[in-house]
Symmetry: C2
């Protein structure tokens, strides 16, 4: 008797068998918050923010959708946990030398950007998650930057402003890059192909804007990936230049 035939006896009189009867003991190490967040991250990274639904996540974990709510208050909280998880990927220099503040800040900023671009879906949620900066990993980053600028010689209040400035620049830049990577991913093309296919539209939109047209013309033919890297680095250097004027007297 196959399992199918058993199933066909109908739901009124469910026939118990090895296949249908739940095993003694929880079969899985059960569900845990960490496991849920980890799987959510996998789903987000591979398919983007729209692909994350509680049902799909539950299925992936071999669980029902509503089981997740025993470990997580709601979807937003799950996303905040995921956000802090990726904050944890940011490399924070171990240096405590005041003289290397600029190199340390540069490394941290580059790592922050790289992390955001590795998980471009965060761009879609940073704007609605007001509390994400309270997560432990986010605080670790804030503490590091605050210490860095304090060591470099700024008073506490100004060190805070300097850190905000740096983070605002990096997240601003990375957010717009990530938004672009999101639509790029949806297009299914390579970055080269996508940029090429976008040219006519962009040129038409810039028709009556001479400076924009010239800017476009100048960028055409460049490798878009390295152009993005250079743009980021240019702005980062300028921001640090600006902060440096307040550090070196």
């Amino acid at each position: 008797m196959s399992p199918q035939e058993q199933a066909e006896t109908g739901p009124q009189t469910p026939v118990q068998s090895v296949w249908t009867r739940p095993r003694a003991g929880r079969e899985q190490p059960a569900l845990s918050r960490d496991q849920i967040v980890a799987e959510a991250l996998r789903l987000l990274d591979s398919d983007g923010i729209d692909a994350l639904s509680m049902r799909k996540l539950g299925t992936r974990l071999g669980a029902g959708a509503t089981s997740l709510y025993r470990h997580v208050a709601n979807k937003d909280e799950l996303i905040e946990l995921a956000i802090d998880e990726i904050y944890g990927e940011i490399e924070i220099p171990r240096s405590t030398d005041p003289a290397t503040w600029r190199a340390d800040a540069t490394g941290c900023a580059q790592s922050l950007r790289a992390t955001m671009l590795r998980h471009p879906w965060i761009a879609s949620v940073l704007g609605e998650m007001g509390m994400s900066y309270l997560g432990p990993n986010a605080m670790r980053l804030a503490e590091f930057l605050l210490a860095l600028f304090t060591r470099a010689g700024l008073p506490t209040a100004e060190a805070d402003q300097a850190a905000s400035t740096l983070v605002a620049y990096v997240t601003g830049m990375a957010t717009s890059e990530a938004a672009y990577l999101n639509v790029l991913a949806r297009s299914g093309h390579t970055e080269q192909q996508y940029v090429e296919s976008l040219w006519p539209t962009a040129e038409q939109a810039a028709e009556s804007y001479p400076h924009l047209r010239e800017g476009y013309a100048e960028q055409r033919g460049k490798d878009p990936r390295t152009a993005r890297d250079e743009n980021f680095q240019y702005g980062l250097d300028r921001v640090l230049d600006g902060l440096e004027t307040r550090i070196i007297h």
Copy 2:
């Protein structure tokens, strides 16, 4: 015979009357794309991004939900139109004097921030809308900044990078502020009340981070609104300082 009684005759034999019979001629000036975007903006500004649904929007316009699709391809496109609409609110200085580039950039940056904070829901969508910078008003802003830095003496390619840097800083700062304003609005309290109620949580989260604790202690008691304004201005000045090093030789 009241309209209700007529209605109770059932859907099989609908009784026509003055009340139920459609009027001759389109009663309304019909639906237009501009009208739809305008009403969407009202809804977004008053109730936030989650409150925008096609059905609710249709009802507000006295139309069915799916009628909107005659004028707008889908919800995302509607939001892109709304975004560009608010880009149109940004004040762009008319000056063409190279000497005032810094004042002009400051004014434009402040207006960009103010506009984003007046419509905090854009923070929730900037990260998913990759094409919003192709809208006419967004291009107008880009053209202005490009012209500004070109006039100030930068070559085209660098003027482009300078404009990106400035915009990244402003949007980064405004995005995190807007995210905060979003949760503030949901809390239903004033900013003062909200900050006060957040203190214990924040202090607990910062427990093992000495610099953060000191930073918090220093900010306590300040008016949060003016503190935000000052933080923004500080970073803006630093970013412009950094760009200035490339302009003045």
